[in-house]
Symmetry: D4
Subunit: 226 residues, 8 copies
Amino acid sequence: MDGAREADVGYARLDLDRADRTGDPEVVFGPGKTPAQIVDALSHLHRAHPDRAVLATRTTAEARAACRAALPAARIDDIGRTVTLGPTPPPAGLVAVVCAGTSDLPVAHECAEVVRVFGSEPDLVIDVGVAGVHRLLAQRDRIAAADAVVAIAGMEGALPSVLGGLTGVPLIALPTSVGYGWHLDGLTAFLAMLNSCAPGVVAVNVDNGFGAGVAAARIARRAYRP
Amino acid sequence: MDGAREADVGYARLDLDRADRTGDPEVVFGPGKTPAQIVDALSHLHRAHPDRAVLATRTTAEARAACRAALPAARIDDIGRTVTLGPTPPPAGLVAVVCAGTSDLPVAHECAEVVRVFGSEPDLVIDVGVAGVHRLLAQRDRIAAADAVVAIAGMEGALPSVLGGLTGVPLIALPTSVGYGWHLDGLTAFLAMLNSCAPGVVAVNVDNGFGAGVAAARIARRAYRP
Amino acid sequence: MDGAREADVGYARLDLDRADRTGDPEVVFGPGKTPAQIVDALSHLHRAHPDRAVLATRTTAEARAACRAALPAARIDDIGRTVTLGPTPPPAGLVAVVCAGTSDLPVAHECAEVVRVFGSEPDLVIDVGVAGVHRLLAQRDRIAAADAVVAIAGMEGALPSVLGGLTGVPLIALPTSVGYGWHLDGLTAFLAMLNSCAPGVVAVNVDNGFGAGVAAARIARRAYRP
Amino acid sequence: MDGAREADVGYARLDLDRADRTGDPEVVFGPGKTPAQIVDALSHLHRAHPDRAVLATRTTAEARAACRAALPAARIDDIGRTVTLGPTPPPAGLVAVVCAGTSDLPVAHECAEVVRVFGSEPDLVIDVGVAGVHRLLAQRDRIAAADAVVAIAGMEGALPSVLGGLTGVPLIALPTSVGYGWHLDGLTAFLAMLNSCAPGVVAVNVDNGFGAGVAAARIARRAYRP
Amino acid sequence: MDGAREADVGYARLDLDRADRTGDPEVVFGPGKTPAQIVDALSHLHRAHPDRAVLATRTTAEARAACRAALPAARIDDIGRTVTLGPTPPPAGLVAVVCAGTSDLPVAHECAEVVRVFGSEPDLVIDVGVAGVHRLLAQRDRIAAADAVVAIAGMEGALPSVLGGLTGVPLIALPTSVGYGWHLDGLTAFLAMLNSCAPGVVAVNVDNGFGAGVAAARIARRAYRP
Amino acid sequence: MDGAREADVGYARLDLDRADRTGDPEVVFGPGKTPAQIVDALSHLHRAHPDRAVLATRTTAEARAACRAALPAARIDDIGRTVTLGPTPPPAGLVAVVCAGTSDLPVAHECAEVVRVFGSEPDLVIDVGVAGVHRLLAQRDRIAAADAVVAIAGMEGALPSVLGGLTGVPLIALPTSVGYGWHLDGLTAFLAMLNSCAPGVVAVNVDNGFGAGVAAARIARRAYRP
Amino acid sequence: MDGAREADVGYARLDLDRADRTGDPEVVFGPGKTPAQIVDALSHLHRAHPDRAVLATRTTAEARAACRAALPAARIDDIGRTVTLGPTPPPAGLVAVVCAGTSDLPVAHECAEVVRVFGSEPDLVIDVGVAGVHRLLAQRDRIAAADAVVAIAGMEGALPSVLGGLTGVPLIALPTSVGYGWHLDGLTAFLAMLNSCAPGVVAVNVDNGFGAGVAAARIARRAYRP
Amino acid sequence: MDGAREADVGYARLDLDRADRTGDPEVVFGPGKTPAQIVDALSHLHRAHPDRAVLATRTTAEARAACRAALPAARIDDIGRTVTLGPTPPPAGLVAVVCAGTSDLPVAHECAEVVRVFGSEPDLVIDVGVAGVHRLLAQRDRIAAADAVVAIAGMEGALPSVLGGLTGVPLIALPTSVGYGWHLDGLTAFLAMLNSCAPGVVAVNVDNGFGAGVAAARIARRAYRP
């Protein structure tokens, strides 16, 4: 790593060349960091990359308040718990972020913002759970028009299977930990998605709106024809 | 149990009063029994209850061949692996036995025969998996006309959730061990069904076509108005 | 969903036609909602359906206090943690809600209220655990007179097996998370119920008094002969 | 261990002083040994301890045939898969070996023979599953007369809970791997027994008729008053 | 249960004949009860059975303070979290309660008090973990003199295996949830004890000092010769 | 589904319009089908779609022999266990199929053939496990030139994490059941891939070469610029 | 243990001869002890062994504050949560403590201090996760110069596999509970390390910096040539 | 990989420089390879490295017969299932391979041969299970004289804990899948070893005699002083 530019901010060495290597923006993972550390990390990375967005995820309400005060230019999503600083790239491609229930909104919002920061455009489609299949069918054409789909669901996690039978667009299943009783913190949805009877469904870990957003944006950007 | 009639057939005491107590026919569980033992048990129970059906489940091909030879009056289902001897009761009520895929047919056939023997009429609806949701919607009215529904699925087990949103008929979810990769011998479908977002779904154990059939027949019989 | 009536209450679109489609009343699931949101949702749904009950489940003490203040007509069960607004339907059929121990009372009360709201009459039978089998036998005739039975138990979950040998009434097993030591948050009772040696036992998820109540009411209503 | 007498039979050093140390007879565990090795081990141990029984467990049909031919004095149980050579001690105390179903007979027979070889008298009580609780109640006095009880059950494993409410005799729960569907090779019964609502129930591993027999015989021998 | 004497204390029916049926004293399980309820239940049961002890287990510090104030005659163990009211029976037999580490003391104390209340005499042997096997060997004769042994250990749960090779006294393994890292809340010790290479080891659930004490006292009482 | 063309081949209704709806070719899943059924299904589907490929997966050696005899035009891969009949589409885009070890070759070959049949071009890169990281680095540019990557590994499943740090190409992790000791039939690799520290990794189920191939081809086709 | 010197400090007997028997220093495990108990235990052990270090691990901030006040000579690591009192031995051998991410620093610091107290010299190498494999390769020679390596990682736990392919130095894998979503509190990393494709990797339990440090120091001390 | 010498033997590229990089001999893993492939691989590697040993592990009886016929110079261990070709290095250091029971001998023999091939000397100590702790104590000095210890046990896996309290020699715990009932294919022993109360115990995967042998030899070689 001889030539790698790195910045030491005290509690971590930030790898400033990573973006060049993978084309990805820098991301600050919120949990375990103080509000001041999050403000500091966002500021530092923003100065290093003033021309592109840096993102903090899974921030606490306290951290977002600190960002609001210290970083007035930041775009903050209180549902998705994200803070974004700097200009997002011009969107390339369209990602349908499809959501089974209102309890899944935090994960869906996080995913949508990640899609935006990673260079694509999210289209958030909500309240289309499988127990009301007509609502889902009513959104079919809108979803099929996307370059990638993220299908989000907790509980029994059936949404990707139904969606996967309706369209051949690349489809990423995103299980959430929403559920009651013995659902194993999202394992039920997770296993269901990995065992989907619809071919070609791929999945990320439980509640991993970040990972799904990164993958979907990469797929959509490459599919995009201006 | 002073007054209880029992029959000792060598390897088990058969409880001949059980039917009187619960209204259920006698059933011989096939696994672990030799073909001769199955023939013998069916004959013995039939002689004790000549006026109603006795049933053997999960029989091997060898056992069914032995039954064909020794019990020419028996009705034999090679897909469902059942052997029935004696008259089934006049059917009361209708049970829709709904099946996600052809791999689920053995469980579905077993369930349907149990429904018949336990006094109701099965209506087998096949090939309506959730990845082809239009096929399922096309059968909606037929399913909603039943007095009870058994929704059978392996893999991600989503069928009961979609069905549960389409009708308020009592619905029994029956997971099967059909699947590939890490599906945990049906646990995935099982957990999905217990975590259904459709209210009021109840479930039986994996591949338990017998239990689902008994429960569905009991429900349908009571709902039946001649 | 062209013709569907929907109401947007800010944090969710309420599906006002659902009751017409499935015959079910509207239910507000308490966890994750503020007391004000619960009061608001109940009021909104009640105005849309003044002629039938709406129900909130798993409410906190704070939410129930807010309902007591804002909705004086509401019926509130502090053990079962339910709030009901509007007239319950005339009861059709009888559901025996049978309870192994006093620790299971919250789940039993929730189940009984759901039975009532979904149109049947609950009969709560308590303190009949299997380690005191004579107590249970003393209640046999009362239980056998019902149109459906909900058998509730934590720990080893044996109650449905014993009950299932005593009566042929449709029986829903409802495991609870009551237990000590390594009981896996109710999985032990749950597995025991799914592996019951009594035929025809069906089960719902751990502590799912709501689901068991919905299923039992549906079964009992259909079995009811005025 | 300087003074310990040991015998080297080629594939293992047999600890001939163990019986003196713990009061236990010698036991040859069958699995993984050839018929010839089992015959050889029994012979060798019998010559070392001509005045007391040696026991082989979990033997194959082939091994038992070899024992029948080579050791005509041996007592062989084809259901319990045991071979015993040499005189069993005069029985001290009584052990009720109670069995939920005929599928549990191999484990029950093994347990009963171990009780005999370890110095107590077994009383085998069969076909008393909890789904036919009247049969069990009919055997209550017989079971309560024992010095120790072994309660054997597969499936939901409820027998020890019901028995534990009927008597205060020391009770060992012995789960078996008998079951259908998702029962986890006996884990369901095992967990149920460890979570019994009856106080003082202790358990051994799945199908461990040997361990239950050893423990029960030790308890019954000490309780015995000639 | 026609003839059964029962007392209704508002939140539960107490079964006052249970002691007659099983010979066991009454026990109040503390968790989930208020200090006032525990005081009330102990008082009520004590008035019903003034001649023998009643016991409360797993009490909080608050509940014990309330008992100290309201029930000055109670015997209170702050380590074992037990409260006992009324005279314990004259001890019959000796139970060695053997403890691997100081972290296991709460469970060991609870077990010892249960032994006392259930009619036997506990002998608490501490600090004899298997990683210091000489300490354990130094206590061998003391342990072998008991009528029953309870072997308590967390972490790898090896103590019963070592003890079981040293003595033929009936041995109850009691796993605790003491451990670090991935130990599964005591499952590791629990599984180890159920898989002990020493024959005849029986086990209770994790941290179940109550169950182990009940079982050990029953065994020791019967073995006792005055 | 009024207008849907279906073909009844006796043991299943084949959905001949599925390809039109999702753009996917027809696939025959081999397990559970006889060699004759596989030959028959391939022939039937080929006649219905003479202008595009139909594929059979997970075939046995017997089934492939039957196909070789009956379908001389078929392309057969004995390592990947696939049989393909009919012309594959002109390849659009490039999929790097990267393989950690020789034991993973069957899954890798299956995946590569699926990529081909679903319209893209596979580039099979083998023997690049993480314990020889220099071999992997030597292939970096070749892999980064693809439109999608499938990273296949068993055992600890680390390959996607290392690859994900080297390139921003959409990356599908494909765990295999290759391993020794306690690896849980591929769960270890599966969990590792879902917990990858490289952002944007998505995964399919264990050994699911088919699913990974479908997803990769869909992504690569859309990214392809002729 | 007749000759063993022991000290009774009220809540535990300290085994003062243990160090002589195994060559290990005394260690106070912090959890469950009050700050005063930790100060007391360190003081007591230090007086008994003034010539060598005693160590407290997993201390709370409160306990460390108490140690700072009462034991000014103590060396305190707030990241690693350790308190050391008394002189560490002259270091023999070198242990590379290699760390995948900043979240792993607490475990890494604890491990390094244990290495020091147990008589070897730690070399802490940080920020070398596998998703940035070039950083890791840049540290290869430094790591290969050690006498033992501890490879620390959470999430997918791939670091030991990559390191194990780069050097033949004895390598201890130390999984951490760092992760997001369904990672099972470190089980994912743990399983990955036990299934490493690099030969000769050994592992300790999740977050067990203590155990890894003890093992590494023992190995390095013996390898050391002055 | 520019300078790497590789050999293509048809079904795998053999990495002939690996030994130079890590100091390890070449090993052929037997499962999944035909006898001819094993003979071929050993021959090929032996010609490439005539001056040092190559090893095949987990060979079948058929493969060993083929090696006996084709490679008369090979050293073959039928218990440990290994085949070694070429001179082993002069042994440096001593590894005690300690074995709890005769069922563990195949794993112990494999481990011992791996120690030999990787350059150290194994000392096999057998029949020292914890249920006969005096046998183990009798071997204490012999074990403490080694440079590394491999402690092998199935069932409850207690041996490393007892050994770890007796000596400070680096200790590798090797769990085996030996057990009866619910032992989870060696997981019980595995978990016990990872939760050992003796400090500094490290572990390998279940039955991984190869990995334990590699690790132990590396440790012992470095500790060796000629």
